[in-house]
Symmetry: C3
Subunit: 470 residues, 3 copies
């Protein structure tokens, strides 16, 4: 039975002199604690600390990287155990779902999903059997057996993973009940929320109106008046901050920001809350509210993150049947140089403001983002995001960004995942690729080894600590 | 006299451990039959099976890669034997044309044209003399001598090249007479047409009206009525299918698609056929007709190819004097995420539809095309096209596409050439570069060698076979 | 005390067989004279031949690459000795400015600034001490001591650097007094001006009107009449030509060009000179005037350079306080395929016209610029510019451009710097990277070593000589 090759040198560059330096750099950072300042783990996972149900629920059903690829190969979502918006789950046999993955495992060759899952099986679960139709059942049984053991429960894994801080992403209106339970409990793991107000900032979201009403409920503010709305947003930020948050996050269609007068802002607010707005108004409102968020960050010290440029829900049939975040979000070209100008002009030189920008448009790395981050003090570049959180993607990021912005205008690694058990392997991939990049600089005599060691530490740990104020 | 270095390891990565794996992978695929599902060879070449006239007509006059480069170095088209639209050929001495190439051979260093031509001379014609002013005459004579021999006739080469299927590209109105002759003949080579209806779909083409009249003639349909026009297009598709076609191809300025009501479509059809349309109407019509083509592909099973994003005939003087396809087509930015949305929303999840998208805008590989192909079941990515059918171009394609879309959402290789004698070397270059890419994955422990062997086979042969239904 | 690693093989590729070829290629070109056809050295530096004042004025205050990075790390411009527009300099202690750089030297890891400065210290000043807070004073003293010696004066350095020609960049209205002094003097160094008329071509520049009045003064023409304006521009070109200029240069927001009738041009001229224009008019005027510049280049033989695509003065606070060119110019997407069409259609096939295009939008290298330069005889590609004049930037340029345009449609190296003492190390970096690229082609059997030697010479020397008519 074929075994997966978990070589110590995996993902390190092949050339022996470079690999030797990379190995040395990596050996110094591989054991550093994990800082996870941006991700999508459900905090109730750690509040409840229940065992994970089964391999399909652990690796496939919630992972859009995995089921999008299977879907692309004409394996229908309904055979993959996905749950429809009305609650129907047409395939409830998790073993069959798992088998669908194993018999199509070749589809994932050279993808990060393959790397993550193979490393996860090997390093978290001690399984190095190669996945295939033939081995599906055996691996399923092994996994199922492991998952019943106490050392595979979420908190045990959290500790084994050496996670120093885990930030979740939470609606601005979220009561943070799971976070409260973790804090009230004797368990000492650090899990913090992140303030994500998209649903109450974006008039194009279908839930905008109910979200505003919910915001009114949780704050007691009149969110249908502009001052009340701003006060409610501030109040929630303060609540998040008291619950440990160090950052906000904003997922917008574009990076558009705009400076409006109070009068214009108030009129615009009225149009969008009364549903009297057009597409231009919605963009204006989002752009104006990003400016307000920057202002509030300046006041309360929360680091501001922006994740723009995804055309969400490209497939309306998928959206209608299975809901949001199911793998049909497609990047588009993203303008930063003009769109961020108002925000950076007003806040980019502020000594107490930190703004972390991400992109799905790699053409912007060297053209716009590195030059902007290499000038504005407040701006940092988030790591290679989403489709680009992969060996070649991370390498391109370093090659395209570093010569203009250096390492110290970048924000360290984000695992950005809802797949809790994949967190350590995602960090490990990034650490390996970064060490490979640094090793090449050493062997090309662009950097001394001691300098490279300092940078490797910064990229694996120090930058995230400093930028996210952890 | 300098010899060209036809080393067995050419185009394989330099690092010895990677090169060793690459060599091994390549040794398994180098002899596979050639599948040529998209190209521009004139079928009468194989129907007539006449000897090629001379080196200028074989390598220069019809090859826009070659004469565009010479033109860029201030060597006028008229000295290169190009034939003007009125039939004038100012330089009729093919030996002098050939000499112009040889004495400027340095211009082609590091271009794919150099690789192709040198490999072609060596492997097809057994000539490894390096081209220069000094060797021009000798090589010309050697070539001329070879071309008179029966083993250098098109059919003999077709067999020697081990071509399993060769698809040509043919106007929708083409009577396919050469194809018929090949079928009627005892020769067993498989040559199939591809349905290319641009001239009857694009109101901006100067020949749109006469092409519609021709379409009426060959079908007997009233192509000035919308239902008659659609019926004529369907009838021709059926004819192509019966003649062996497995695919259609569409060369549009953009990837724009649009869903129109029947009423609006019919009104638009009237405007464009009466010449009452503006630029917006023409784009709408092309976008609407791509949807119709997808619908018809769903019905008749022809694979739909789209080649968008070229600003054709950038130099109007060239167009006026020498006509189409003479080297002045320049890529522009191409939007896929918005433009293909209507088509993919309607047909992208259809189990029986296959849609192959190409690009000349490499910024779209990782940003739009790999994410789209990595989600929609019907969509496949065509290989690196045109300017990017080159060692670095193919390598970039793999690096930018694979981590998101995998290998199994890509369509294998297309030689896409009108230069018949270059077909095997073009496949060989792609096979070498793909094996080099796979070898690096192996040496970085991302993939086992047996997995890489399977993928190498798929990229060289299996994917084209499956995607194009050959 | 740590020493900087000035290894002979620095910046050469790590793989031993490639490095060996690269070393051999580099050994043949490292000593070639420097051709500097585009840059921003102040000619009075060489006319006056005064000693450089001190390390802060040599390496930091005038270098926007350096102070932008320090600013990005929250070190204020006022602590870096920058001079405000009203002449205030808040930090006048150059030793403290120098120390700010040294104690933040880690910020520059992997940037070209680090490479340049370390090589400059080592090769020009013989100092290999690694910069840090601890070594700042010692290096400062060493530098200060060197700068008083006659062999570190500008002319002595010019000779030591083996500069064959140095082109400066000069306003069209510049009297070229420093150039005249150099010519009148016994010193034999060749320093030539470049005609840069942006201030009199761009109605959006705040100094447009006064610049027109200045143009009238220096020429005696009525620059408020369209014929007088054109005559004045022509007269200045002729003056520059007589002073040795071989080129013009144009820094425009976009690459837009447009063909206007004389009547429309004259009307537009009236609107822009009377301040009655809108943003569209300004772009039209710039686009029209690029066409006029091409026409005049055709007449007088000056090579035309275009540097488009920078959003200048992105930070208005910086502009207001410190003026132009202080590090807040950010690239944006740049269209060449449509914007250059009028210019290339009219002048691109002219045998006596040379047009050199640059870009800050790397997405255009393979998509637009290489295809355009690989077709139009008049067009050449300028080297990797500004943020991309770096090891990875130059390598990307070669990989993205060469397979389509070859080497002989590129214009050789430009150092493009105002930092005089950095000129030789900038050339050295480019020579090393180009040799590394060529070596890989050799080892992959794409090119013979003698061919690579010829190309290495062309890239280091020959292309600039030919393209810029030096």
């Amino acid at each position: 039975m074929a075994e997966v090759d978990m070589h110590d040198d995996r993902l390190l560059p092949p050339e022996p002199s470079v690999r030797a330096v990379a190995r040395d750099l990596y050996s110094q950072v591989k054991g550093l604690p994990l800082l996870c300042p941006h991700g999508h783990v459900d905090p109730s996972l750690l509040a409840d600390d229940e065992p994970f149900p089964d391999p399909a629920w652990l690796f496939i059903i919630p992972d859009h990287y995995v089921h999008r690829m299977l879907h692309s190969a004409r394996i229908p979502h309904e055979e993959l155990g996905l749950v429809e918006v009305d609650g129907t789950q047409r395939e409830t046999d998790s073993r069959r779902v798992w088998k669908r993955l194993c018999e199509n495992w070749h589809l994932f060759r050279a993808t990060p999903s393959k790397i993550w899952l193979e490393m996860e099986l090997a390093e978290v679960f001690g399984i190095t059997t190669r996945l295939s139709a033939d081995t599906a059942d055996q691996v399923y049984d092994q996994l199922l057996e492991r998952l019943t053991q106490p050392e595979y429960r979420p908190r045990a894994l959290f500790e084994r993973f050496n996670i120093e801080v885990l930030a979740t992403t939470d609606d601005a209106t979220d009561p943070l009940e799971a976070h409260q339970r973790i804090r009230d409990d004797a368990w000492t793991g650090t899990v913090i929320p992140t303030y994500r107000p998209d649903k109450v900032l974006d008039p194009d979201q279908p839930t905008f109106q109910p979200s505003l009403r919910l915001l009114a409920e949780v704050t007691g503010e009149d969110t249908m008046s502009y001052p009340g709305y701003l006060a409610a947003l501030r109040q929630r930020r303060e609540h998040f901050r008291r619950m440990g948050a160090t950052a906000t996050d904003h997922g917008h269609p574009s990076a558009y920001t705009v400076e409006l007068s109070d009068t214009d802002a108030e009129k615009l607010f009225r149009r969008v809350t009364e549903g009297q707005h057009d597409a231009g108004d919605a963009e204006q409102f989002r752009g104006h509210m990003l400016m307000q968020m920057a202002q509030m960050s300046l006041e309360d010290g929360l680091v501001m993150q922006l994740h723009p440029g995804s055309v969400r829900n490209h497939d309306p049939h998928l959206l209608a049947r299975y809901g949001l975040d199911k793998g049909a979000d497609i990047p588009g070209p993203t303008d930063y140089v003009n769109n961020l100008k108002p925000l950076l002009n007003r806040y980019g030189n502020e000594p107490d403001f930190t703004f972390v920008a991400f992109t799905l448009d790699e053409a912007a790395y060297s053209r716009e983002l590195a030059p902007l981050a290499g000038y504005y003090p407040a701006m940092q570049l988030g790591p290679a995001w989403w489709f680009y959180d992969s060996p070649h993607g991370i390498r391109r990021y370093r090659e395209l960004v570093t010569e203009t912005a250096g390492f110290y205008n970048t924000a360290g690694f984000n695992d950005d995942t809802r797949a809790f058990a994949s967190i350590p392997v995602r960090h490990d991939v990034a650490r390996r690729i970064d060490c490979g990049y640094l090793a090449q600089l050493v062997v090309e005599h662009r950097m001394a080894e001691d300098e490279a060691h300092e940078v490797a530490y910064a990229l694996a740990y120090g930058r995230a600590k400093e930028v996210y104020r952890l």
